[in-house]
């Protein structure tokens, strides 16, 4: 099934935005401008853009610690987001928490999670509130493959099932929890774990943005209609380290090569061209993103650092 042209370009734009944004963050990190740690999702953009763009504005997200792509796809202002990452007071959270913990209330982003597994219990309360308030929304609770080994995951699946909660669990399965391969940590797949709790499950090629989008879209409408939780497991790969300065000795070269060939952005541009989308349209998306990033960098660098005030003491 081919998507509407505007939607295709939107998917491309959000993937490119995530890629260029993170390349900028990586660049700034190497220059020492980023204080602290960043977890980059380069290589995983199709999963981030495809899942989040399947949501409505009124839906909620809870991104992972590697969540720049998800937050940007939901609408986070790149200026404020980059300012947050380089610890400026104009940042989304006033420059207090940086890359890993961004909340963005305006876009229903309820906070990215620095404690892996802590998102599941919280997502239950969000889902419960959506249900009690009778909102036509879902909450998208994202996590990595490694996090599915936390006990809170199983509690969350159980609560979502018994309370019939409108939660879409998204597993960004990038094969590794830091340096440990998923196959060394568990003998069953993540969607199998969810099936035990009667969760509607789906799997997707996480580097194929249209597949991720279409399957998630279908799940979201199913969750809204049937008032039941769902889970989608997207298989993808992070190109860079766990954090920006991880040299990745645990990665076989062949594996990296294989996945780089599956670059979700290059793949999608090739597909769009094959589908007769004009080069000029693609070029203008690229230019638009470049401009957004340049403006974001300018804004973030020019902003001030926050200063301590007594009200911060609690």
């Amino acid at each position: 099934m081919d998507l509407d042209k505007d939607l295709s370009l939107k998917l491309l734009e959000k993937m490119l935005l995530a890629r260029k944004f993170e390349e900028k963050v990586y660049d700034l990190a190497k220059k020492g401008v980023v204080h602290g740690s960043v977890h980059l999702c380069i290589g995983e953009e199709a999963t981030a853009a495809g899942t989040v763009l399947a949501l409505d504005k009124s839906d909620y997200i809870m991104p992972t610690h590697r969540g720049h792509g998800q937050a940007l796809a939901k609408g986070a202002d790149p200026k404020k987001f980059l300012a947050e990452i380089i610890a400026k007071e104009t940042g989304l959270c006033k420059g207090r928490v940086g890359s890993m913990h961004t909340y963005d209330r305006e876009n229903n982003n309820l906070g990215a999670q620095g404690i892996l597994g802590a998102q599941f219990p919280i997502s239950i309360g969000v889902g419960l509130s959506i249900k009690l308030k009778k909102l036509d929304s879902v909450v998208m609770c994202s996590f990595g493959d490694g996090t599915s080994n936390q006990g809170t995951f199983f509690e969350g699946l159980n609560f979502a099932d018994i309370w019939d909660l409108p939660i879409v669990f998204v597993c960004v399965n990038n094969l590794y929890g830091m340096g440990t391969h998923y196959s060394d940590t568990c003998n069953i797949s993540i969607n199998q774990k969810a099936k035990i709790f009667n969760i509607i499950t789906e799997t997707a090629d996480g580097n194929d943005v249209e597949e991720v989008y279409l399957k998630t879209k279908k799940l979201v409408s199913k969750v809204k209609k049937e008032k039941r939780p769902a889970l989608i497991e997207c298989y993808t790969y992070r190109w860079l380290g766990h954090s920006a300065f991880d040299n990745r000795p645990y990665r076989p070269k062949e594996e990296v090569k294989k996945w780089k060939k599956l670059d979700p952005i290059k793949r999608y541009i090739d597909k769009l061209k094959k589908n007769n989308i004009e080069d000029s349209k693609i070029k203008s998306v690229k230019e638009k993103v470049d401009k957004i990033i340049a403006e974001a960098e300018k804004f973030a660098l020019a902003s001030d650092y926050p200063t301590f005030d007594d009200s911060m003491e609690q």
Binding site: G95, R96, A118, P121, V126, S129, L132, N158, I162
Partner: protein
Amino acid sequence: MREITYSQALREAMSQEMREDSSVLLIGEDVGGGYRGCFGVSTGMLEEFGENQIIDTPISENTILGAGIGAALMGMKPIVEMMFEDFIAICFDGILNQAAKVKFMSGDQFSLNLVVRLPGGSGNGTGPHHSQCLESIFMSIPGLKIAVPSNAYDAKGLLKTSINLGEPVLFFEHKKLYKTKSEVPEEAYSIPFGKGKIIKEGSDLTIVALSYMVNVAKESVLELENRYGLNVEIIDPRTIVPLDIDIIGESVKKTSKLIILEEGVLRGGVGAEICSQVNEKFFDYLDYPIKRIASKNMAVPMSPFLEKAMIPNKDSVLDEIKEYLKL
């Protein structure tokens, strides 16, 4: 005025808020069906408010607390009941890294109306996993407020305040207080955080006591005063975060002597914090070093003999006061 129990006061506070606002929820193990709350605090609430407000859960403390946090992020006013205070250990992340930090981390985009009710305390042989007083552990976590009501009147007023405070509150209820009665107005009222109460005025000695230990202090002091003709001031801080250090300081200015009495263990206790603050602000008014009376640094035993040896009681407190005053 009518008298009701501490349990009834808690139930009345929750019920009055729930009638006003359907976003007030009670979430926990056996709060609705079955037991109606392990200690009967929520008896009858399921019948009045239904399953949309009285929410029974599986035995999963992590998710019980998380459900409260998530609901509070969505603008609800959840009250989470830990069946026993000791069980909070299972969901420590939710307290330490989530609830306490949301407001700061979000750059003030979100604030939580979240109350965690914590039945604690010993004295009935329930042993090391069902008897602790853990206030002091949480006192050093920025972002939490902590209430320790010692009587039905305060329990009702502080719970109403907690439900609407906009910050996460740990609400410590002592199990031995549930059946104690005091005069409680029928209408709803709020007691502000950070305002202590003088339980009994006096000029010879100040005792700051927490929660159930207020009752123990009263009994010990009654005997002390009868025997020695002394006049002891007893102060109940009611909340320990924020702490009304001034009401304690003003009392010390009168009495020049201070004892802090709590049921939690001595080492690193609430008493240690109060002692330090008084030293920093009111040292010049003290005649004697400040004394802390607390439980011994050990797990709470089931054995009634060991339990009695560990936890302050009327006689042990009396002995310690006499020693302090060199009587």
